[in-house]
Symmetry: C2
Subunit: 528 residues, 2 copies
């Protein structure tokens, strides 16, 4: 089988997914196949040829225009320490002014040292994730101020819901990392929130997590918590990226102090920066998708170059988050045709620079209706065909990111699993071609009870979490449940079945001690 | 701009869609742009590179296996007249037996004469549709036994709903043809149903339509009605395909009498046959997608070859309708990962034979919930990336085809328009790159009120029919409408605004006279 049909699953999992031979011969192989079934969605690989919307000339034009922006207009860099680093590397910095301009040669030289692929390390080695290349990693929703489920309605973020959402992220293998706080727990004081939340991330999951860049100390605490969680030295940590931070530019053309500080703390220690301008066409970016991409690319390249000024070879991800606004109201729109174009074009830009590509599973629906599904499905279409590597907000995002929805989380998990199944290779072995079965059944028969069918029917097809395929009468007798109803039931069932992943008691003790000490010290200064 | 970024819209429409220059200079150009706005979604072209799941070897293997099926197992051909034609062309026919076997050379020789592209002619020349190549044509739902809207619930098909659905097909340019009876109007006697329904198709729309192959006379009546509608001679009609019929094989491996008769009547007169096996993996086809594709391909090639035996060069479409069943219940499933793989692989097979490719926009939802949207969106993903040319059931199909839903029709129209917008080229002109606008706004500003934005904001982005992008508070004040609510409102508004397309009174008179005469003759014999 060539690359065109090769696997979306890891080597091990391909063998178990396609392991008809083992299953039919029974014995230990078959048992092992069942036992490892739950890990099927780890380590996804996307072997599809990438869809391209920009021809080479158009790609060059966007590239050139964005470098012209950095060279002629420049970026406001709101941290003296960052400007000093930039100046030391040859950027055009004027004493006392925020504006920094970058020669295009400098930008290109810097980004050339960023790695094309790297691994993010979790405390459970089976949860390490590869970033870049053909790898496809799904991160949970991040940073919603509100949380909702059907019974509780929409409410401000809080620790209880935060923990429930983090537990749900642990429950599904297709959620490869958390993505930040799935909802902002505002009932925890901001000075110590990061300590409680990141400690929870370590204890409630065994997956890679994110720390916010909201001041140097929060980054340092995050790095220490990740280090303790993995039970390794800082030296080892610096050579094994184990924590990531999303860096958003303040579009247009501004890098704020905490973001720059985050790059300095994370990149200098070899941790992962996901550099993501949020360029809404028609608002903080030009009204044309191409113009918004120029701005996205300028800001992304500037931030990525800065990571390399901080430390050559530091792991960094090219982030795109270009969408459009609703021109009637100014509201952000997501999962639109314009979003699809931006996602696919953004992938072309990232690949041009040989950088991993971050994008998102988005929608702007207010509830779990058809809109929530089609906007997300169109997002998944674009990010899959466009070669997204690291997908933020993969599950739970609704209302343009304002609300983390428990039901939407389940809907998204189901859709992500469908994408993963779509990416698995089509078995075209002689056995799968089924010529003998066709011969046996012959004209006018059916395949329900054939040996070929019986040997495969349990695992032949993806079994969705939510799709209700009962006939209309049975479905009516059941009270006509919608996807929303099913998702509401499933998230509660899944939460009830949650089990904490094992953790070394010594690690937990060290973690608790660190958090207690830092709380005693007052956590971090806040602006409130 | 290269092919990679070229247009999804016709030449004329690209100019009006991208006609910034005209709009800004105002005057007649601008007016004309607005006047032709409604035709934006006619003549869609899909310039995306096709996604491929089968490598050349796998494609060969499926091809070979399907030819082996035809050669060694054969097909039951349930019409003596058809067997005689096949025998005359060299197929292996045994006197008194249904089974016919076909040498692979015969099949390949026959299908080689089928055209790769052709035009289907409507009574309004602006509604002609190009089939094959990069053209993308959306046909409305066909053949549902039930119809539903929220107020009326699910009910048996009837003439009133039939007419409403046909009118809705006329209302939207993205619906390029009707696809058959959107719902079966069982309140019209079967002997004359085709006369009333096809007469309605001519009067209520100006688009191409379909006639069912349910006996020779129905085909003949359909051809005559299409001819009268176009106001042309039969000679002209025979050189200008103006009517299509869906031919389904009875999988596995059987071609029924009425279907074969349909091929004979339609192909001999140069009308369009869409040859579509309905190969549900695990039921009427092998449980493996590859096996189901082998069966699909065998049956499709057999039917297509037969069209060419009837008349060399007759227009024919390679149809694929492979999906899987729910192995728990045996119910058909649609819009699944397996469906996506079958749709994309089917496109590769059709292109291998240089034939236009028919596929479908499917789902198995019982209501207009998230499932209805994600299963359809995944179908649209596969059929777009897989190069579908002629898309049946594009709008209104729900519950696995059992029900034509008014609300789903609107949801689908919205999604089809989004696909069309996605396929439009990304404008990467210097103007669109917006370097001057970025310069004007500079760091820290916004683009809401810039000249660049103001000149474009009205037409910059697709304005969806259904997506509700109001903020949560405004949406709550409005009663928290879902997509279902919006679609329910929109279909009624749209129906109220329906206008009959103009028709030559002489044509209408001739049509009425023909229908009256045929009714007097008793229509067609029925089995009831």
């Amino acid at each position: 089988m060539s690359d065109m049909t090769s696997t979306a699953l890891s080597e091990t999992e391909t063998q178990s997914a396609g392991g008809e031979r083992r299953r039919r011969t029974g014995g230990r192989g078959g048992d092992r196949s069942r036992a490892t079934g739950s890990t099927k969605y780890r380590n996804l690989v996307n072997q599809l040829a990438r869809t391209e919307l920009l021809d080479p000339q158009a790609l060059d034009d966007i590239h050139d225009a964005s470098l012209t922006v950095l060279e002629e207009i420049g970026i406001d860099v709101m941290l003296p320490e960052a400007r000093a680093i930039m100046k030391a590397h040859g950027a055009e910095v004027t004493e006392g002014a925020d504006r920094v301009r970058f020669d295009r040669g400098l930008i290109l030289d810097m980004i050339a040292s960023a790695p094309s692929e790297f691994t993010m390390h979790a405390r459970n080695p089976e949860r390490h994730v590869k970033i870049g290349g053909n790898n496809l990693v799904f991160a949970q929703i991040a940073s919603a101020p509100f949380v909702a489920d059907r019974e509780g309605g929409r409410r401000a973020g809080n620790q209880e819901d935060f923990r429930k959402l983090v537990k749900l992220a642990q429950c599904y293998d297709v959620i490869h990392t958390t993505g930040g706080y799935p909802v902002e727990p505002v009932d925890i004081h901001a000075s110590v929130r990061h300590l409680d939340c990141l400690s929870d991330m370590v204890k409630l999951t065994d997956k890679v997590f994110h720390c916010y860049s909201l001041g140097k100390q929060r980054n340092l605490d995050g790095i220490e918590i990740a280090r303790i969680g993995r039970g390794i030295s800082m030296e080892q940590m610096e050579s094994e990226p184990s924590l990531f931070t999303i860096i958003n530019s303040s579009s247009p053309l501004r890098l704020d102090g905490p973001m720059l500080q985050g790059i300095i703390e994370m990149s200098s220690r070899g941790q992962v920066v996901v550099m993501t301008p949020f360029t809404l066409a028609g608002a903080m970016a030009p009204v044309t998708v191409a113009g918004a991409l120029v701005l996205q690319n300028a800001e992304a390249l500037c931030g990525i170059a800065f990571t390399q000024m901080v430390k050559r070879g530091a792991p960094v991800v090219y982030g795109g988050f270009t969408s459009n606004v609703d021109m009637k109201t100014g509201a952000p729109a997501f999962g639109t045709p314009e979003y699809m174009k931006a996602v696919i074009s953004g992938g072309q830009l990232a690949r041009r620079y040989k950088l991993p590509y971050r994008t998102s599973n988005t929608n702007a629906a207010n509830t779990l209706d058809a809109q929530a599904a089609y906007e997300s499905a169109f997002s998944l279409w674009a990010l899959t065909q466009g070669g997204g590597n690291f997908i933020m907000h993969s599950a739970g995002w609704t209302e343009g990111g304002l609300t983390a929805s428990f039901e939407k989380f389940i809907l998204d998990v189901d859709m992500l699993q469908m994408v993963a199944e779509f990416l698995t290779p089509l078995d075209v072995s002689q056995d799968a071609l089924a010529l003998d079965a066709v011969r046996d059944v012959g004209p006018g028969g059916h395949f329900f009870g054939t040996a070929h069918t019986l040997a495969r029917y349990e695992t032949a097809f993806y079994s969705p979490i939510l799709s209700d395929w009962r006939n209309f009468e049975t479905w009516t007798d059941a009270g006509r449940p919608t996807t929303y109803d099913h998702a509401n039931r499933v998230f509660k069932e899944k939460l009830a079945s949650y089990e904490r992943p094992p953790i070394d008691p010594a690690v937990e003790e060290e973690l608790d001690a660190f958090v207690a000490k830092r709380k005693e010290e007052g956590g971090v200064a806040t602006d409130f």
